[in-house]
């Protein structure tokens, strides 16, 4: 099999372990350190394995993030990706999914990939539409929700998650595939990998470098506007008890009361 060039879309997000905050304009606060979205580590691992099996080629990361953030990219480079393209531009603040897809698509085009991988959705915005929008913008066929990916003779074969089980789907290359978490076991970066990542190339681009008009994306072009953020109706506080060995009996009584048993 010939060399495969794979692009992986990766998102750098605020640490999900920290409570999320909103900015004054109700967009997500993305200031501070950003990390590699764990959902994307599966795509990076999958790309590394596919390139390895093909016997050659490169894994290129493509990301859009504020403030030239590279923290998450370095993690993925340390896993073994060869290089990265990062688009960072103040005009992208407030960008919606479609704008993001336009930016990623323009950056991906530069890498001329045989295959584009992405997560099914990010862990912060979780619109779940960006991969398919990127495919549409690039005019590529796409298979979303892949739980197994195999390459053979210019074709990508995918086991795609469905409501009932899974479908075997085939698509000609180049194509875009979005992978579910758990599809592969992401490797931990080695010390050597971490050191090597520091000198791997990160191509930092502005919208103008991609020929995208700043007025057409970000808050200016999103086509949507947040009108209010409200507290969701809270659930009435429940009864929390320490198990003294009889906790199970409380559950039984609760279920009896509901006539479930």
């Amino acid at each position: 099999m010939s060399a495969m060039n794979v692009v992986v879309c990766v998102k750098q997000i605020p640490d999900p372990a920290e409570p999320g905050k909103l900015e004054a304009d109700n967009t997500l606060d993305r200031s501070g350190k950003l990390i590699l979205d764990e959902s994307d580590s599966y795509g990076v691992e999958m790309a590394l394995q596919l390139v390895d099996k093909a016997g050659g080629g490169d894994v290129t990361l493509v990301s859009m993030a504020p403030d030239n953030e590279v923290g998450g990219l370095r993690t993925a480079l340390a896993m073994g990706a060869a290089k990265a393209i990062l688009v960072s531009d103040d005009a992208l603040s407030g960008a919606g999914a479609l704008d993001t897809a336009k930016v990623l698509a323009a950056a991906i085009k530069r890498a001329e990939p045989d295959l584009v991988l992405a997560a099914t959705e990010s862990s912060d915005g979780y619109t779940g539409t960006v991969p398919e929008q990127v495919a549409a913008l690039l005019g590529l066929p796409s298979v979303t929700f892949a739980k197994e990916v195999e390459l053979a003779d210019g074709t990508v074969k995918v086991q795609r998650q469905t409501e009932a089980g899974y479908d075997e789907v085939e698509s000609p290359l180049p194509a875009l595939v979005s992978v579910t978490a758990g599809v592969v076991e992401p490797r931990y970066p080695s010390f050597k990998g971490i050191m090597a990542a520091k000198s791997k190339p990160v191509d930092q681009l502005k919208l103008a470098d991609l020929g995208i008009d700043a007025g057409s994306v970000g808050s200016a072009g999103a086509g949507q506007e947040i009108v209010a953020v409200e507290e969701a109706p809270a659930r009435e506080a429940g009864e929390i008890i320490e198990d003294d060995g009889e906790g199970f009996a409380r559950i039984v009584a609760y279920l009896e009361n509901l006539k479930v048993i």
């Binding site: 796409s142 198990d243 906790g247």
Partner: protein
């Protein structure tokens, strides 16, 4: 403005119209005078069911010859819109195919898709959709700022499905300009016994706190004893303990059972979004600070390996 016409993307599995389609039709009827559906397949398969839920017309692509629906269905809808046959709003379910179709269509029409919504309302001149964020603790309301047709994705179980008793909807064929290149060559149905996760009255879910894959068995046993569906947090699905079809959460299934039992689940945002609509929530976790207790009606701070076997024994001896 009022909404004159809403289209709902219809989906079906083995000839049965998906519950989400009927839920969306219920809401659509409330908002617009004319409710129609678009269907990627043979319209005759869905005409009766969607008609009984208030749709008067099915725009159907006909058989997709094995193509994944994203490309062909989006191209067919885009063609209708470009030819002047357009709804004010297209409502799509957050499903595997629904997201693909909405995303492809958004590029074809250069319109945003607003995602993860649980409600939609007409507010003066605006269409306002509501999406939960931060584990459902806050609700974000957004309006569309460019012209229609507006495209919005809705989470399952956001609206009740109610029959109107209407007759079969009229079927109209629509052209598919782009058939797509990604083809389904084989389908696999994973057989499962017991009630379906998103339809069960009782759901028993396990998480990382169960310890390891083998210890998940007690969840399956409890589910059986309660005629419940077994579920799981994303952490243990990712770890490969149970199949993806078990997953409750933002990714995975949204469940709203009468009783939801969360065992060894800390309650990450990802999980809470998928289950906090349950009527009654019971949580068992050894960490008293676990976020799952913030939504629990009954919380047991304790060791799942002690509480669950005793619970199973008590249920089995009844």
């Amino acid at each position: 403005m009022a909404l004159d016409r809403i289209w709902v993307l219809a989906e079906a599995l083995d000839g049965t119209v998906a519950p989400i389609t009927l839920e969306l039709l219920g809401k659509a009827r409330e908002l617009a005078g004319t409710v129609e559906v678009v269907y990627g397949g043979d319209g005759a398969h869905v005409a009766e069911a969607v008609g009984a839920h208030g749709a008067t017309k099915v725009y159907a692509t006909g058989d997709l010859s094995g193509s994944l629906p994203g490309v062909p269905v989006a191209s067919a809808i885009a063609k209708q819109v470009q030819d002047g046959n357009a709804p004010d709003l297209l409502m799509v379910g957050t499903t595997y195919d629904g997201r693909d179709i909405a995303a492809r269509l958004s590029v074809a029409l250069d319109r945003p898709v607003l995602t993860n919504n649980t409600d939609v309302a007409v507010d003066g001149d605006d269409i306002v959709v509501t999406a939960p964020v931060f584990g459902g603790t806050k609700l974000v309301k957004s309006r569309f700022t460019v012209g229609g047709p507006y495209i919005a994705l809705f989470r399952p179980k956001s609206f009740p499905a109610e029959s109107t008793g209407g007759g079969a909807a009229e079927v109209a064929s629509i052209e598919v300009p782009d058939g797509g290149h990604a083809k389904v060559v084989n389908r696999h149905v994973e057989e499962s016994s017991g009630p379906k996760l998103d339809e069960a009255e009782v759901v028993v879910s396990g998480g990382r706190g169960m310890g390891d894959a083998e210890k998940y068995q007690v969840i399956e046993d409890l589910a059986k004893a309660l005629k419940a569906a077994p579920g799981a947090s994303r952490a243990i699905v990712d770890a490969g303990w149970v199949p993806y079809s078990y997953q409750v959460g933002q990714t995975g299934k949204v469940v709203k059972p009468n009783v939801y039992i969360a065992a060894g689940i800390s309650g990450a945002t990802q999980h809470l979004v998928g289950m906090k609509g349950s009527k009654n929530i019971i949580a068992i976790n050894k960490d008293p600070e676990a976020p799952i207790f913030s939504v629990a009606d009954l919380g047991i701070v304790g060791d799942v390996h002690k509480v669950l076997p005793k619970l199973l024994e008590a249920l089995s001896s009844r």
